[in-house]
Amino acid sequence: MAITSFIERIFSKDKSAKSVAKDRLKLVLMQDRASIPGHILEQMRKDILQVVSRYLEIDESALDLNLEKADGSVALTANIPIKRVLPETTASTPK
């Protein structure tokens, strides 16, 4: 690296290629490590549906299960539209 670009970097406060690479790598590895194969996600979706529908009547077709990547973290989010709450007698008895 030329001295001029070194000086430029100090004054422009640009991050070095090294630290940019490291930050990008950390993020992509976190995403890679948290990625779930499609068939596992589908199985999980079914399992969640089964458990939730013991207590709630839900709109199964509108269930939305996603892995979301934001702000340097990965989250599993589920959006489950509820039609009604099942009465307590029917609740807790598996379908």
Binding site: M1, S16, K18, A21, R24, L25, L29, D32, R33
Partner: protein, 271 residues
């Protein structure tokens, strides 16, 4: 049969990071330390380890010939004339990965152990498919080779996960093609960066600088580890020593680069 045989797969996920060169050089360095070393080229269909060792003209039989019964293991093994401790079991060039099964690979390794080899190094093909499964099948330990470069480190991370699934935990790491000057000027990932990103599950086995002598020696079919004068040669020897359990400090590449550069200048000026 050697009770102490160590079966180590050399892998990386990504192609072109220097797996084959590493296998050849670490194998040669181990042989130089008196170990009986068998190098197995598991990259069936894309044979290259023979070239790295300069043994390409001596191949008669290959691993598929052994597995399919056309040749005995001893007939297929090529003894290196520079160091009789070293032998190569070449890959087939005309077949593909499906020519060998994991069970057959395990059998070949068992037979190599019976031949008395103390180190069996397996050069794994790039990728995560059948070739990877074959190459890791009979291994007890793993070396992951990576370059200090994003795609390579990412693939190394993936491979570390897959090795774990094959019960090859806590692999050893070789950071290959390090450009000391670029790391110093903050332009390239350093060894510490690579280690930090990959996590504590990997153990640093060695650092190999991006040394021109590796290219020239590969062209001549003489592994760089034969030349202990070269920086790369020393790096490979240190790796071999660490594999044998010795505590060898990591080279101060910065200082050595300067010194070697000066030496090189002196010699090139003389020519």
């Amino acid at each position: 049969m050697s009770e102490t045989s160590r079966v180590i797969v050399v892998t990386s996920g990504k192609g072109g990071v220097g797996k084959t060169t590493t296998t050849a050089n670490v194998g040669m360095a181990l042989a130089g330390l008196g170990e009986k070393v068998a190098l197995m080229d598991a990259d069936i269909g894309l044979r290259n380890l023979d070239l790295a060792l300069g043994l390409e003209n001596r191949i008669v039989y290959d691993i598929v010939d052994v597995v399919e019964g056309r040749a005995k293991l001893r007939q297929a093994l090529i003894r290196d004339k520079r160091n009789q401790n070293l032998a190569l079991l070449p890959a087939a060039q005309t077949r593909d990965k499906s020519a060998v099964t994991p069970a057959q690979m395990k059998q070949v390794i068992t037979d190599l152990k019976e031949e008395g080899f103390t180190f069996i190094l397996i050069d794994c093909p790039a990728g995560i498919e059948q070739g990877f499964v074959n190459a890791t099948a009979g291994a007890n330990e793993a070396i992951v080779v990576t370059n200090p470069e994003m795609a390579s480190v990412r693939d190394a991370d993936r491979i570390i996960g897959l090795l774990e699934a094959q019960d090859l935990r806590d692999p050893m790491l070789i950071v290959n093609r390090l450009r000391v000057k670029m790391v110093k000027s903050m332009e390239m990932l350093g060894v510490e960066d690579v280690q930090e990103v990959l996590g504590s599950g990997v153990h640093l086995l060695g650092i190999v600088p991006d040394d021109e002598s590796i290219i020239t020696s590969a062209n001549r079919g003489e592994p760089a580890s034969l030349n202990l004068e070269s920086l790369a040669g020393q790096a490979y020897r240190n790796i071999a020593l660490r594999l044998k359990g010795e505590q060898v400090p990591f080279m101060d590449l910065e200082e050595k680069t300067g010194f070697m550069d000066k030496l090189r200048k002196i010699f090139s000026a003389r020519k």
